[in-house]
């Protein structure tokens, strides 16, 4: 039962992360390949504030989201003028750069080898309480995205993705929307990171590698681009599947490779046969 709650928490983390990535990749069409960096920033900020400065966990999580958004914008601004591959490549490079930052700051920092003493408010210190809180945060994020999808802002994002130069000719600066949505995506990733830290009770640089960035690409790729149901469906189906692998008696040595191979296969098949995903509204941009 507790394990199911844990898996539920994980799914929620990936849903929030996927929503953020889908805003950037699906709605706005920017090929972000390094979203895990912001996940890490959020996780480290929240955990660090909580452990070293005694900030309460809710505030620390919010701070994680805000700091991730700020870092996201700061790292995004120089990349604004890039397009296509070079943008994808630069964001992918950012992921490696951040990984090394986390990794090298970790060994000598007290508490880096596990989040000792993450102080949780009493209400979420029990597994059920934690799950309800995380579920609540997830529902809030879904609601925000749902409002966004239907708002003029969401429309402007899709217009930016479709034809940025046409939007420009209508007197609206696509870069403004790109920066905004990048900040929003960063905030979602940061929040997901903070919740991830709370779920696992520890953080470690290996959680924020390129593989995590690729995983979110698979989540939204399978679920569906530019689609909220897609952002939920992807993590639910894939996490349930890979966690389910543990229960069918597969040796645990095989679960990681099978997950990786499955993600790889899904990417290939999706690109071949269904580029918009299960319930997506949009193709991978050319």
């Amino acid at each position: 039962m507790e394990h199911l709650l844990f898996i539920g928490n994980l799914i929620c983390v990936w849903i929030i992360f996927s929503l953020g990535a889908n805003l950037v990749i699906g709605y706005t069409g920017m090929m972000a390949m390094g979203q895990a960096a912001y996940l890490g920033v959020g996780a480290y900020t929240a955990a660090g504030l909580n452990i070293f400065f005694g900030v309460d966990f809710f505030t620390a999580s919010l701070a994680g989201a805000v700091v991730a958004a700020v870092v996201a914008v700061l790292t995004f601004l120089p990349l604004l003028r890039l397009d296509g591959f070079y943008f994808a490549l630069a964001t992918l490079g950012l992921n490696f750069v951040f990984f090394d930052l986390f990794h090298n700051l970790a060994p000598r920092v007290e508490g880096s080898e596990g989040l000792y003493g993450l102080e949780m408010p009493y209400i979420i210190s029990r597994p059920v309480g934690l799950f309800i809180a995380i579920l609540g945060a997830t529902i809030l994020c879904v609601a925000i995205c749902w409002r966004l999808d239907r708002s003029p802002f969401g429309r402007a994002l899709r217009a930016t993705r479709d034809k940025p130069e046409a939007l420009q000719s209508l007197g609206k600066d696509p870069r403004k929307f790109q920066i905004s949505v990048w900040a929003l995506g960063g905030a979602f990733s940061g929040l997901a990171g903070a919740i991830y830290a709370a779920t696992l009770f520890y953080i470690d640089p290996t959680l924020f590698t390129l593989n995590t960035s690729i995983a979110v690409l698979v989540f939204i790729g399978v679920g569906g681009l530019a689609s909220i149901p897609g952002s939920i469906l992807g993590p639910v189906v894939l996490v349930a599947f890979t966690e389910g692998l543990r229960f069918i008696g597969l040796p645990s040595t095989l679960t990681a490779p099978i997950q990786s191979a499955l993600y790889g296969l899904l990417l290939v098949l999706l690109m071949m046969f269904r580029r918009q995903g299960l319930v997506g509204n949009y193709d991978f941009k050319d």
Binding site: E113, G114, G249
Partner: protein, 384 residues
């Protein structure tokens, strides 16, 4: 060979997985405790070892020793007549893998105690052990890591004991420049001050370099050592083949400086193979055990694998019996086993001699060794 062993372990794990899956469907994890109360029902012990990744080779060499230990214990009556059954999960040697496999073992399989390994994994598992009230026991060699918590135990020679005897060699040979290699993981936090302190005692100059686990070309890093011009090079980490590879590459950069280590990792086959001839002459302080006393493990292991077990296999053998003894005395719940481990006195180690649990950490005898021929392999106990 080792893969076969792994599969065998999983075959038994599989049956229990099906059972627990069914239970999971019904309700709560508490049912596992009820199921175990039945007579003859096996007592499950969790094993979170790396079976893949940089440390995977070692993890796979350790599993057979655990299985031999379990088999011999079960023949001798198990835990008050109940057999021991191990459930193995792969941690990949990462904290991430350590935590998720521990969660699965406790929450799905309901194991009351866990055998684990490697500082970075253990560090991540400690808070979880406290939360679940499931004791973890490991051969971590990080001083102070387990002493500040109730639910973590260690059974190993500490570098705070092995490094000083290496230091005596340095003193005798009048070593003035020491260079050390550690992996870029939290283990540096424990190791670096010890070696540095030893160097300070001798009035020697000290420098260090951190290598990245999973890299393969360390020559740039080694050039640092070459530039430093050391008369002693110290290498210690998680016992991964990386350390062996560094030894080899040190020699291939024309550095003939003597090599030193703070653990008996060279007894591990994968480590030894990565080092090759470069490890000849290596001097290390490590677990000192009596081969005759350990014969029942060494012979069984040799028969199965074709070569001798390494020092950590002996420690793992002990740890199974420590858990079994504690469970036999206090009961099979997590807190009962913890109680037993914390008050362990006069435990008869496979390496010979009696050990006590002191502050969650056993004190086992250490000795100084020199590698005569890493290929054979041949080690010789020496005195500084």
């Amino acid at each position: 060979m080792s893969r076969l062993a792994g599969i065998r372990a999983h075959a038994s794990a599989r049956i229990s997985l099906f059972a627990s899956l069914a239970m999971l469907g019904l309700a709560a994890s508490a049912t596992t405790a009820l199921a175990q109360a039945a007579k003859g029902e096996p007592v499950k012990i969790g094993v979170t070892y790396p079976l893949s990744g940089p440390q995977g080779a070692w993890g796979q060499l350790l599993l057979p020793a655990i299985e031999i230990s379990v088999a011999q214990r079960n023949e001798a009556g198990g835990i008050n007549g109940r057999p021991i059954q191990i459930v193995v999960e792969d941690t990949k040697g990462t904290p991430d893998g350590g935590v998720s496999s521990m969660r699965k073992l406790v929450q799905v399989d309901g194991v009351p105690a866990i055998l684990t390994i490697f500082t970075n994994v253990v560090s991540a598992q400690i808070p979880l052990a406290r939360q679940f009230q499931v004791p973890i026991i490991s051969p971590v060699e990080a001083p102070g890591l387990v002493t500040n918590t109730q639910y973590a135990f260690a059974h190993s020679p500490l570098p705070s004991r092995t490094v000083p005897i290496v230091g005596e060699v340095w003193k005798k040979q009048n070593v003035k420049r020491i260079f050390a290699f550690y992996p870029n993981t939290p283990i540096v936090k424990f190791l670096s001050p010890i070696v540095k302190g030893e160097a300070e005692k001798l009035g020697a100059t000290y420098d260090e370099a951190l290598f990245k686990l999973g890299d393969s070309d360390f020559r740039g890093l080694i050039t640092r050592a070459k530039d430093f011009g050391p008369d002693a090079i110290f290498i210690m980490g998680h016992g991964t083949p990386d350390e062996g590879a560094i030894m080899k590459q040190i020699r291939e950069l024309g550095i003939q400086t003597p090599l030193y280590g703070g653990c008996a990792c060279i007894t591990v086959k994968s480590y030894r193979e990565a080092a090759g001839k470069a490890a000849d002459g290596l001097i290390y302080g490590g677990f000192k055990y009596d081969r005759a006393a350990a014969a029942k493990l060494i012979d069984a292991y040799r028969a199965r694998m074709g070569f001798d077990p390494d020092y950590a296999s002996l420690e793992a053998y002990d740890m199974i019996n420590m858990i079994a003894d504690s469970a036999a005395k206090n009961g099979v719940s997590g807190s009962a086993i913890r109680e037993g481990l914390a008050n362990l006195k006069g435990f008869k180690s496979i390496g010979g001699g009696l050990v006590d649990m002191n502050d969650n950490q056993t004190v086992i005898s250490v000795g100084l060794y020199k590698v005569i021929d890493a290929g054979k392999p041949e080690f010789q106990e020496i005195t500084p």
